[in-house]
């Protein structure tokens, strides 16, 4: 097989699987709590800065994972408590508030780290020989880890007690409360899971992208488009949305230009909003 095609094919799989992980946290919070967290991208940014801090402290790369979970967890908890909880069921106000949060987090990052770009070293350098082509090991690893995270979360949500409580809360909060489920704690937990997932995505991607305060904007939009196209509330929706958005973007960016790719994604999303507002995998 033509090595170039193989490389492009793996690139596509890589783009789609990482996009799925980046959208996962947004999907959890939007799909389960009905809160569109515009600051999602900034939690990805925080994860990336955690990776940078780990590296400059000369700790092993994996130390970035607990660091991110702690930072994003505490932040997620505080944010849910201060500005999300008072605004549940007021989607427009949460939209504005989380937009303000995204601004705040960006400005804090700017005040601490400055506007400059940082790069993070790839923790697992080198390539593997694969179907007549050389492919970076780290990217292959990312594909595997992304799939593991998505599958792991699905199994946990479908099988664990907490998962079934969350499902109860989503379908009928009052009834769930009456059944002795603490909806408040559960919603806070769900929000924290969402922010931590975003942070993890940031840690994973940090070695491959320039780390800077504005990086989150692009990701939150892409993640949002994945949800528009795929539809909320199911894994198949998330994956198909990621496949369409990631696929269209990589193919057009590779053949034309990044601007065209972005334009195509945007037009596609507007078309979906218009013609299939519930996405590819409609879920009642």
């Amino acid at each position: 097989m033509d090595p170039l095609i193989v490389t492009q094919a793996i690139n596509l799989i890589y783009a789609v699987s990482t996009l799925a992980v980046l959208a996962l946290g947004l999907a959890v919070i939007f799909g389960l709590l009905g809160v569109l967290n515009i600051a999602h991208g900034e939690f990805i940014m925080i994860g990336a800065y955690c990776a940078y801090v780990t590296q400059s402290g000369r700790w092993p790369y994996l130390a970035a994972v607990p660091l991110t979970l702690i930072v994003c967890g505490i932040l997620g908890w505080a944010v849910e408590w201060i500005m999300i909880r008072p605004l549940y069921r007021r989607p427009f106000d949460t939209l504005v508030a989380t937009w303000g949060l995204s601004l705040l987090l960006r400005k804090i990052a700017e005040a601490i780290f400055g506007l400059g770009f940082y790069s993070v070293n790839i923790p697992v350098p080198g390539t593997v020989h694969f179907l007549d082509t050389e492919y970076p090991i780290y990217r292959l690893l990312l594909i595997a880890v992304s799939l593991l995270i998505v599958i792991g979360l699905v199994i946990w949500y479908g099988g664990s007690r907490t998962g079934s409580r969350i499902r109860a809360m989503v379908s009928n909060p009052e009834l769930a409360q009456a059944q002795g489920i603490s909806v408040r704690r559960l919603a806070a937990g769900t929000f924290i899971v969402g922010t931590c997932l975003a942070g993890l995505g940031g840690v994973m991607l940090a070695p491959l992208i320039p780390v800077q305060p504005f990086m989150g904007l692009d990701y939150v939009l892409r993640a949002f488009f994945v949800l528009i196209v795929g539809g909320l509330g199911s894994v198949s929706g998330l994956l198909s949305g990621a496949a369409v958005i990631g696929g269209v973007d990589s193919i057009i960016s590779a053949t034309s230009s990044a601007t065209d790719g972005y334009f195509a994604v945007l037009v596609l999303s507007i078309l979906f909003l218009w013609l299939r507002p519930r996405g590819i995998v409609a879920h009642s």
């Binding site: 569109l36 515009i38 500005m83 008072p86 605004l87 989607p91 427009f92 106000d93 939209l95 504005v96 508030a97 937009w99 303000g100 949060l101 601004l103 705040l104 400005k107 804090i108 700017e110 005040a111 504005f214 904007l217 692009d218 939009l221 949002f224 488009f225 528009i228 230009s257 990044a258 601007t259 972005y262 334009f263 945007l266 999303s269 507007i270 909003l273 218009w274 507002p277 009642s284």
Partner: protein, 573 residues
């Protein structure tokens, strides 16, 4: 008028008070303020938040900059082209609004995200399209506006432009279209049910905000002499939202105050105070959460003082635009489904053109769904609905309303934050005002003989300035009923008009329904559970069960009907 002259006076005096440096700075921020007024129009009036408003500012700036460079020897051409470019921005915004708002239902977050994405896209195009935009470094060496000598001249141009934008906005806010924007921000569905195309109203708001941003942008290019991708990008878009919020989004002057104050403070403090922008972000969140009125909210008492209290004479409203002759409402084999469930199962029935009809049936029989199907809110999968021979099924709710079908919802849904007078006026405009008239403030003084009668019957309807939200539950029910009557419909659909009312209020509602039946001469269809009310009101009773018509007849006949008794086993009253 007093407020307006005060503002003009301040605008003229500022350069003398502050000196040339500040005059120049304010000249720049006045242009941003023009765009911020547009953000306030969308957010504070129509209730949706544009996150990429710099797109329209920047588009105007680039177009104007390119023209000033191309016609450096003949600047008059560029000057004449400026209004056209502002209109281009407006049209782009309007087109985006039409495209995005066409999606039914809750479009708020989607709209905001798409405008954010568009602004990022515009930034990318501006940076990468080197041959036209000058790429990252932008358009440089744009000639200035001809005939301007010093900083204060530059300031007066900007201030004049800002005043024009404020005049447009102020006029729109007092015109019916402004009232409708504020109404749809509270309850979009209700505005549709009064016969207004809310998607078009929102797209118009967005288009006008694009015009205001475009106006600011076209002046920006010759004023600054340089246009870089920053003017279309995310940063300015975000600043516009912050300034609007801090100044007070719901107030005409709020965005201007916010822009001039925060904008110029930021320019001063950004470098000396490293956490200034962090502070502003915290301040923004605090405003959103606890003080939505912003700085302008502090001046509320002053605004009340300046407001003219002169009461102007009422104007007689014209007749309805469409036919108001009584008409027969016919449902023929109407089917409605929700997923697996059949809600209406080939329902066939007709209502005579005049009279009071009651629809009863157990919970889940499909009563409210029948209303929703008639008013165009539920799609029918089979059958047809027509009114006096005109097909109704398949029309959008606002079109059905214009044919003369009015509705009172089960939960009282008056516009809580609007005054009683505005609530009633919206009902009067329904079916009477054409699109252009929505720009005419005199429509707020419309009255009809029916309104005067209602105000005599219920004096609280004449206390114009009171907010509808301050009324008791019973008064809100009567206000909503009055609003439905004022549209002078051919068919009036009332969904449990007496739910939650005291016995006295119930008597009042029965009185008003009977009075309306005579007065309107059309059909009034009432969903009701309480058989004692049904007995008092109904000429004919329709019993629904499982989405079909079970029985039809006089109250006595229905009560004697064996099939009806079987459905109501256990005997409801």
């Amino acid at each position: 008028m007093r407020t307006a002259s005060l503002i003009v006076l301040i605008a003229v005096a500022l350069p003398f008070l502050l000196g040339p440096f500040w005059a120049y700075q304010l000249g720049l921020y006045a242009l941003y303020a023009a765009a911020a007024v547009g953000v306030g129009l969308c957010w504070g009036q129509a209730g949706f938040l544009p996150l990429g408003q710099a797109l329209f500012f920047g588009l105007g700036a680039y177009l104007s900059g390119l023209t000033f460079i191309a016609f450096a020897d003949l600047p008059i051409v560029a000057v004449l082209a400026m209004p056209i470019f502002a209109v281009v921005s407006a049209l782009l915004a309007y087109a985006i609004g039409v495209l995005v708002f066409r999606r039914r239902g809750e479009s708020g977050p989607y709209f905001s995200m798409i405008t954010l994405a568009l602004s990022l896209l515009a930034f990318q195009i501006a940076t990468s399209w080197n041959s036209v935009t000058g790429g990252f470094n932008g358009l440089k060496g744009i000639p200035g506006l001809p005939g301007l000598n010093d900083f204060s001249d530059v300031y007066y141009v900007s201030a004049g432009v800002l005043l024009i934008v404020l005049a447009i906005a102020g006029w729109l806010y007092t015109a019916p279209i402004g009232v409708l924007w504020r109404a749809l921000a509270q309850n979009e569905r209700r505005v549709q049910l009064f016969g207004f195309d809310t998607n078009q109203l929102k797209a118009a708001a967005f288009g006008l905000s694009g015009l205001m941003a475009g106006i600011g942008g076209v002046i920006y290019a010759p004023q600054q002499g340089i246009v870089t991708p920053q003017v279309v990008g995310f940063g300015l878009s975000a600043d516009l939202v912050i300034w609007t919020a801090v100044g007070g989004r719901g107030n005409l002057l709020g965005p201007v105050i916010g822009t001039l104050l925060v904008g110029s403070l930021t320019a001063q403090l950004r470098d000396t105070l490293p956490f200034w922008e962090v502070l502003m972000a915290v301040f923004f969140i605090a405003i959103v959460l606890v003080f939505p009125k912003g700085i302008a909210g502090l001046a509320d008492p002053l605004a009340r003082f300046l407001k003219s209290r002169r009461k102007q004479p009422a104007v007689a409203a014209p007749k309805r635009l469409s036919s108001d002759l009584p008409a027969r409402l016919v449902l023929n084999g109407v089917g409605v489904r929700a997923g697996e469930f059949t809600i209406l199962d080939r329902l066939s029935l007709e209502f005579e053109p005049t009279g009071i009809f009651c629809v009863i049936g157990p919970n889940g029989a499909g009563k409210t769904s029948m209303f929703n199907a008639v008013s165009g809110e539920l799609a029918t999968v089979t059958g047809s609905i027509d009114l006096g021979g005109t097909p109704v099924s398949g029309l959008t709710p606002h079109r059905v309303t214009r044919l003369g079908v009015a509705r009172k919802l089960q939960i009282p849904s008056v516009f809580q934050h609007l005054s009683i007078a505005d609530n009633l006026a919206i009902a009067l405009w329904s079916g009477r005002a054409n699109k252009l008239q929505l720009l005419d403030p005199r429509l707020r003084r419309w009255t009809t003989p029916m309104l005067e009668d209602l105000q005599t019957r219920y004096p609280f309807l004449a206390s114009a300035e009171r907010k509808a939200g301050e009324l008791s539950h019973g008064e809100q029910q009567i206000l909503e009923l009055a609003m439905a009557l004022l549209t002078e419909p051919r068919v009036l659909l009332l969904d449990e008009p007496c739910a939650g009312l005291s016995p006295e209020e119930t008597t009042a509602v029965i009185g008003i329904v009977r009075w309306a039946a005579v007065r309107l001469g059309g059909a009034i269809i009432v969903i009701e559970h309480d058989m004692s009310l049904v007995k008092e009101l109904a000429e004919v009773v329709y019993v629904l069960h499982n989405g079909t018509l079970l029985a039809k007849g006089s109250v006595g006949a229905i009560q004697a009907d064996a099939a009806v008794r079987a459905v109501y086993v256990g005997g409801e009253k």
